[in-house]
Symmetry: C2
DNA sequence: CCATAGTTTTGACGCCATGTCAATAGCACG
DNA sequence: CGTGCTATTGACATGGCGTCAAAACTATGG
């Protein structure tokens, strides 16, 4: 078969073995579906007996969630070390970096983000929400709006929604090729700027006029 | 409703029986997850033997896809009978109607759209894409831009992406309550208008110039 | 009213996947 | 060179899904 015909029983540190299994699982889930990948497959790929998965992760489900969590981590470099210029410039750079990261990890990212589909899994949902939360923080930081307090929740909610559009647009680019990179830049930076500079103030105004008398 | 005390073996027209099973499946999938709902559960709820599911749908998976397809149908009334006024007005009305529909079918819609998550199922993906396609048509129609040909693909791609944001924002509204209805209106109509009136022309221009490295 | 044919519906079987548990075997220490 | 700790495994039990031949229901013709 393969090079490791008669793999002896190796004994590893729990951490190390755990990592090996996780890596194998990640590779397999990357290629197939949750249902199409069996714990036997994972065990075989990791070179261990199936029960070890239960031992280290509890079950198939937990292992899967671990994989999702790992992949979902928002790439930090996107909003790190931004020059101290205008909001527009900083956001343009962030969008560009985002596109870089996504392009580089194309395959993994695509399978992670999936076809924004059904899922309908409370635990997965929680993971996604946390990731969105962090991403929203990054945007606020890039936009030099960290200190905002009035209508902060509304703003963050809109930014999270924007995140969905960003992912969808990125998929359009990578999969369908219906948008090229330059169009994406224009689209994404223009949208977030409009959101921050036009929509957000407008909503603040509505808020003041309606109920919620400030002061 | 029905007498499920000692249900004799009723013989129905295939269409009718199929519909009954589908309804039961829909209700159950609405409450749980794909994995958490067994074909036995569905069969029991529908008052039939399990193999009937295979007979009418092929298998659990196909039945599930059928449910998704049914729920995903874009509500038509959203862009029907729009008054012949400005683009802005027509889009405002459409957004409003969308919010109406969503609010009315709150629970069903939420579980259908799910937490735009992992899924990663090619067939589900196809269904979503088709739904998005139709939705994009509706938007174009509402925007009086049906005849557009130049950069049509790019435009449609951006509208599809916008659809993701619309769904995400609707979820923010219904689940978290972080956005009220008025804010949503402002946000959603403002975004689509900006997309159509500002971003789209800008991208057309870039297209004509060949490549224009901005900044 | 009865027999018969045709279609719906089901009971029973086989297969595969996951989770559990007691037993085994590697490794560090004396 | 034992010896104890624990990582690792083989074997079993449970439960879900798909298949198939047989049963039950209904409509037709005599």
């Amino acid at each position: 078969m393969s090079t490791e015909a008669a793999a002896k029983r190796r004994r590893l540190e729990p951490e190390e073995r755990r990592a090996e299994i996780l890596a194998a699982a990640r590779k397999l889930f990357d290629a197939g579906t949750y249902a199409s990948v069996s714990t036997s497959d994972i065990a075989k790929a990791a070179g261990v007996a199936r029960p070890l998965i239960n031992h280290y992760f509890g079950g198939k489900r937990e292992l899967y969630l671990e994989v999702v969590r790992q992949i979902m981590v928002v790439p930090a470099p996107v909003t790190e070390n931004l020059p101290k210029t205008t909001r527009e410039h900083r956001l343009t750079i962030s969008v560009d970096r985002w596109l870089d990261v996504v392009e580089r990890n194309k395959r993994t990212w695509l399978t992670a983000i999936g076809p924004e589909a059904i899922g309908r899994d409370p635990d997965v949902e929680r993971i996604m929400l946390e990731a969105d939360e962090i991403a929203a923080d990054h945007v606020l930081e890039a936009a030099l709006m960290t200190g905002i307090v009035e209508g902060r929740e509304e703003l963050r909610a809109m930014i999270r929604s924007y995140g969905s559009m960003l992912r969808a647009a990125s998929r359009e680019w990578l999969i369908r090729g219906t948008l090229d990179r330059e169009a994406l830049r224009t689209f994404l930076t223009g949208s977030i700027l409009h959101l921050l500079n036009v929509t957000y103030p407008k909503i603040l105004e509505q808020r003041r006029d309606g109920r919620t008398p400030p002061e």
